[in-house]
């Protein structure tokens, strides 16, 4: 019991549910299954991206290039679809994911082989990737009428009342849960973040683990590139501009420590849902959408403060005050 109440994810889930219930008091339809499905669908991409960012942050790094990566990969599949509508959409999904993977691997390689701090590398590639969209598209947009029917439908087809987009997110959440809790790679990612020195002693290659983390964040960004373009039916330089910080915000709210090693899949999911519920709830309770930025900013600050106070380094215990917890 004590373990649960100490748990950040538990409290965050409570907060998210209270937000839904409080909004429902104002507008009863808000807690209906249909509306909840809409909210989840709206949050799906943020959930996927937050998982990618989580893996990176766990290894004491940060990926600020995710949104640019998403936009570039999205533009590439948009152009391919516009030019060759006969290519099946699953192949395009794979293409987007591979594009993202390569861009992520480029980040990871600079960090691993040259040893540049991740914040600098991804700050640089943030502008490089986005600038490249302009170059490959010649400054033009890809508009709704140029996409094939399948391309647009592959995020929308409903199954058991949920659109495909939501199912992709669910599948990735489950996949990451298994990855992070049940595989050697997942546990190595935690180990590197908790104590790099000890990880070295345990035979874990820190640079390679960080590289792999950036491959994950890159591949997920790329996959979301397709999802984004398909969902909003537009490919442009402006896609997801500034979204990199929303992704970091979801992680921070989800209790993922920027110092590395602390954070869970559930935390990332609820962090993203928090932002998703908020953006859906504000118009319902009559708050101007212009307030959203300030509120999410305040939420980030609050989350950091709460995380820091709960993760305070346990004081060195020398005096025999009581027996060890066992």
């Amino acid at each position: 019991m004590k373990a649960i109440t100490r748990n950040h994810e538990f409290w965050l889930a409570i907060v998210v549910m209270s937000m839904i219930l409080a909004t429902a008091l104002r507008s009863p339809g808000f807690a209906s299954p249909e509306k909840l499905a809409v909210i989840f669908n709206d949050s799906s991409m943020l959930i996927i991206l937050a998982l990618g960012q989580m893996v990176v942050i766990l290894t004491r790094s940060i990926d600020l290039s995710m949104a640019s990566n998403l936009a570039l990969s999205g533009m590439i599949v948009a152009l391919v679809n516009a030019a060759y509508p006969e290519i099946p959409v699953p192949a395009l999904m794979l293409l987007a994911t591979l594009c993202g993977l390569c861009l992520g691997a480029f980040n990871g390689a600079l960090i691993w082989w040259i040893g540049i701090p991740s914040i600098v590398v991804t700050l640089g590639t943030l502008t490089i990737y986005r600038g490249s969209i302009f170059l490959i598209a010649g400054g033009k947009w890809v508009n709704a009428d140029r996409f094939s029917e399948d391309f647009v439908q592959y995020t929308r087809i409903e199954f058991l009342g949920l659109p495909a987009l939501s199912w992709y997110a669910l599948a990735i959440v489950i996949g990451f849960f298994v990855l992070m809790t049940r595989t050697t790679l997942g546990r190595s990612i935690y180990a590197v973040g908790v104590n790099p020195n000890a990880a070295l002693y345990a035979g874990i290659n820190i640079g390679r683990t960080q590289f792999v983390a950036f491959c994950f964040s890159g591949a997920l960004s790329g996959f979301c590139g397709y999802l984004w373009v398909s969902r909003y039916v537009i490919g442009s330089v402006e896609v997801a501009k500034g979204y990199e910080l929303t992704i970091v915000a979801a992680c921070v709210i989800g209790g993922i420590s920027i110092a590395g090693g602390v954070g869970t899949v559930a935390g990332a999911v609820f962090g993203a849902l928090f932002l998703g519920v908020m953006s859906n709830a504000l118009p319902v309770i009559g708050v101007s959408p212009f307030w959203q930025m300030a509120i999410s900013g305040a939420a980030i600050i609050l989350a950091v403060i709460i995380n820091a106070s709960s993760q305070k380094k346990s004081r060195r215990l020398i005096l025999r005050l009581d027996q060890d917890a066992s």
């Binding site: 595989t183 546990r187 908790v194 104590n195 215990l317 005096l319 025999r320």
Partner: protein
């Protein structure tokens, strides 16, 4: 007489400014315990790291079961069957006890996924095996005490089928009973035919457990043999070199009135009811086991630790240092144990390291005056016989002993009344050690008062006027260091052995 299972030949390892190992040999035999003996800084831990793939030797060869091997990574050492309990606990606070034990070789179930129930069960068995049945396997390591963390480290080392087990000061943080459990474990490993390298400072442990010994001094192997044929005094002579008795400077200083009085000094978790006086011209030794809370008390005196209570009186005035800056103003300075992390700023030039706390003296209206800074640095560097090519070179390019001199110079430059030295000669060469000791003598002759925290008994006995012994965050006893004070008495007091027997 069997063949050695692991043989190291002419291993050499250098770091910038330090020759850590120079052409050392070592042989480990199956079913035998070999003790590796040497002072702090003799190169023991470096050797352990070279044997476990963490460091790559610059030169030399390693033979395992007669076959030449290399260990490019810790994993390679692991696969050969070499496992180590390292001196520092290299574990993961945020992971569970079981995972700390099995990270990297967790039991796998279907689809090659980690089998948590099995991992917890295996961890349980291992912990029970080493007499640590009181540690739960599924709690996070950060909720485990320091002593228990060491037991987890032992369990981790034994979680693999290893033929060579290295133990680097495994008893340093353990209680009497835990040490006994560990010893029976070593006996068991021995009877299983493992080759064991046992590193310890404590001769009683060595004589009880080990079959062979190898002595290191200043990164070189100076002797080895069978322990049963060797007197303790011979080994000590090898360790120290030249003469058995370390020479400490004699001094004739008039002990003056108290300059510092500490009463009821307490902290919620680290120490309680600390009371002592420090007199003018006195060297007050602080002895205790590692983790007894000595450094914590000193850092609190130096203003590093908030939430302390009690009264500190310095030269008749009650002071309550809230930060090191406050303590320095009151004339109290602290030479930290972790020189590289807390003492010198490695990437700043020597002169800037020395002048850092004295900038208000060398500057005018807050503006730097380089000439004055250099003069100050030059003055103290030559007093301490600092060996450096220039005062503008980074402190990180100096050897450990010379770095320590930079830290001492930094503190002398502010002309303090009280200087607290925390393990002042840890990990520095014999020559620098002697220089530091001589210098301490000079300091008290000039009317300073010195508090010296040390874990080296010869240093404590050789330098202190009185000795305070701490145990588990409390003051155990204060001894006058007359001829009757013995190393034995200090150790018993620090470990609380006398009380348990009673």
């Amino acid at each position: 007489m069997s063949e050695p299972l692991l043989r190291l030949s002419k291993i050499t390892k250098t770091f910038p400014g330090v020759r850590a190992l120079h052409a050392v040999d070592l042989e480990l035999y199956p079913g035998e315990v070999t003790a590796l003996i040497g002072e702090n800084g003799a190169g023991k831990s470096t050797l352990v790291k070279a044997m476990t793939g963490i460091y790559q030797p610059d030169d030399g060869e390693i033979f395992f079961a007669g076959r030449k091997v290399t260990m490019p990574t810790p994993h390679a050492a692991f696969q050969l069957g070499i496992t180590a309990i390292h001196q520092e606990t290299v574990l993961f606070d945020e992971l569970t006890v079981a995972e700390n034990i099995f990270l990297g070789h967790s039991p796998k179930g279907r689809f090659n996924l980690i089998d948590w129930p099995k991992m917890n069960a295996n961890a349980r068995l291992l912990l029970d095996d080493i007499g640590a049945s009181h540690i739960a396997a599924d709690i996070r390591l950060k909720d485990v005490s320091i002593a228990n963390k060491h037991l987890v480290a032992v369990a981790r080392a034994l979680s693999v089928e290893a033929d060579v087990v290295i133990m680097d000061e495994p008893t340093a943080a353990l209680s009497h009973k835990e040490i006994e459990d560990l010893f029976s474990l070593v006996e068991k490993l021995k009877s299983d035919g493992k080759a064991i390298l046992f590193i310890s400072h404590k001769f009683d442990e060595i004589y009880r457990l080990a079959d062979r010994y190898t002595v290191f001094r200043d990164g070189e192997m100076v002797g080895n043999g069978v322990l049963a044929d060797t007197q303790q005094s011979q080994i000590v002579e090898m360790m120290v070199g030249r003469s058995v008795e370390q020479v400490f400077p004699s001094r004739a200083v008039e002990i003056g009135p108290p300059v510092l009085n500490v009463k009821g000094f307490s902290h919620p978790t680290e120490f309680a009811d600390i009371e002592f006086d420090l007199h003018k011209g006195e060297v007050l030794g602080f002895y205790g086991l590692v983790g007894a809370g000595r450094s914590e008390v000193m850092q609190a005196l130096f203003g590093m630790t908030p939430s302390t209570s009690g009264t500190i009186t310095s030269n008749g005035q009650v002071i309550s240092p809230k930060s090191p800056a406050d303590a320095i103003k009151a004339g109290i300075v602290y030479l930290p144990e972790e020189r590289g992390k807390q003492g010198v700023i490695l990437d700043l030039p020597i002169f800037q390291n020395i002048s850092l706390p004295s900038l208000s003296q060398t500057s005018r209206n807050g503006f730097l005056r380089m000439a004055q800074e250099f003069e100050l640095a030059r003055n103290y560097a030559s007093r301490l016989d600092l060996r450096a090519a220039s005062l503008s070179q980074h402190a990180g390019t100096l050897s450990g002993g010379n770095q320590q001199k930079v830290v001492i110079a930094k503190w002398l430059a502010i002309q303090p009344n009280i200087i607290i030295l925390d393990e002042p000669t840890k990990g520095i060469d014999i020559g620098s050690k002697a220089a530091v000791h001589t210098f301490m003598g000079e300091l008290v002759e000039q009317g300073l008062s010195v508090i010296m925290v040390s874990s080296e008994i010869p240093e404590i006995l050789g330098m202190s006027d009185r000795v305070v012994v701490m145990r588990e965050g409390r003051l155990a006893e204060v001894f006058d260091n007359d001829k009757s004070l013995t190393a034995e008495a200090l150790i018993r007091c620090a470990a609380g052995i006398g009380e348990q027997a009673a």
